[in-house]
């Protein structure tokens, strides 16, 4: 390994969590998954199921990206690259759903395959 690569890796590793911390994060992720499944079955939460499940999924997503993929500790440039893709994906998602369900009233029931 070149001196450059070695130096860069040492800088990155300075902030990475220890294996014990990874296990704690995995336990939290498992608890969040159990909570998601419980929420899906609870009739009392049926009115708020989408925001609650959305929040739990975002929390899990952020923990995996931040800690397991080390985006929380790595260069901001990597963060910008990934977040740009994510923002475009959310924009695409919003535009498509708005067009179909907002302006056009959704895909016609008698449409292709409908």
């Amino acid at each position: 390994m070149s001196q450059y690569a070695e130096a860069q890796e040492e800088i990155e590793l300075e902030h990475h969590p220890e294996p014990g911390q990874y296990v704690k994060i995995a336990v939290i992720l498992a608890i969040l998954t159990a909570m998601e499944v419980a929420v899906a079955y609870l009739d009392a939460l049926s009115d708020v199921i989408i925001p609650v499940l959305g929040a739990l999924a975002i929390a899990k997503f952020a923990m995996v990206v931040g800690y397991f993929m080390h985006l929380k500790f790595d260069s901001k440039l990597f963060r910008y690259l990934f977040v740009t893709g994510l923002v475009f994906a959310i924009a695409l998602f919003s535009i498509v759903l708005t067009i179909f369900f907002g302006s056009l009233g959704g895909p016609a029931p008698g449409g292709p395959g409908g």
């Binding site: 300075e14 990874y22 998954t33 995996v64 990934f82």
Partner: protein, 200 residues
């Protein structure tokens, strides 16, 4: 080595960003994959209620079964990050064991998906029967294909390590494949919520 010296060594390198190009490319690729899966998830949401004469999601989905699959994939992210940690410690045996564990968990997930697809096919859900069937199989099938590619890459890493083709200094290779694997996991986090848990 002191942090100042390390920073200086990095800055002396001639990439314009001072960052590793392969890792930059991987993050760019993962950003583009967000768009790919974003479009597939959008399509699924559009057509999830268009079941034609075929079965609907309420008839098919087995939430406890899929929850176990999700848990397995989530834990594979832990074993992957432990493999990288072992690699950084220059612990080749530990790295191989964790990589193998990750690949095995991935195989369990794929086995579960094959079983699920078979059950759904028996229930009458095919690619052609309805827009719901098409969008479901395309979304989850592409995810499964990504997991399969990840398993192959993990096994390749294990093989390279066993034949001394992956030295203690090649941690970047493990890290890049790890990033891909974690990405596959976060895509499933979204699919599990949007496809299986949120009712139609």
């Amino acid at each position: 080595m002191a942090t100042e010296e390390l920073t200086s060594a990095v800055q002396e390198h001639h990439t314009s960003t001072g960052l590793d190009n392969t890792k930059m490319a991987m993050w760019g690729f993962l950003g583009s994959e967000c768009l790919f899966f974003g479009s597939l998830i959008s399509t699924y949401l559009l057509y999830r209620n268009q079941t034609a004469d075929g079965p609907n999601s309420a008839d098919l989905y087995d939430i406890p079964y899929t929850s176990v699959s999700s848990f397995v994939l989530l834990m594979s992210s832990l074993t992957m990050v432990l493999a990288l940690a072992a690699c950084h410690r220059k612990d080749q045996r530990g790295m191989r064991a964790w990589l193998l564990a990750t690949a095995l968990l991935g195989m369990v997930f794929i086995g579960g998906q094959i079983y699920e697809f078979t059950e759904f096919a028996h229930e009458g859900l095919s690619l052609e029967v309805s827009p719901f069937g098409s969008s479901f199989y395309v979304l989850t099938g592409f995810h499964g294909a990504h997991v399969t590619v990840g398993i192959l890459m993990l096994l390749l890493l294990v093989g390279m390590s066993m034949f001394n083709r992956l030295g203690p200094d090649d941690s970047r290779k493990v890290e890049l494949i790890g990033l891909y694997w974690h990405f596959v996991d976060i895509v499933w986090i979204i699919i599990f919520t949007v496809v299986y848990l949120i009712p139609s």
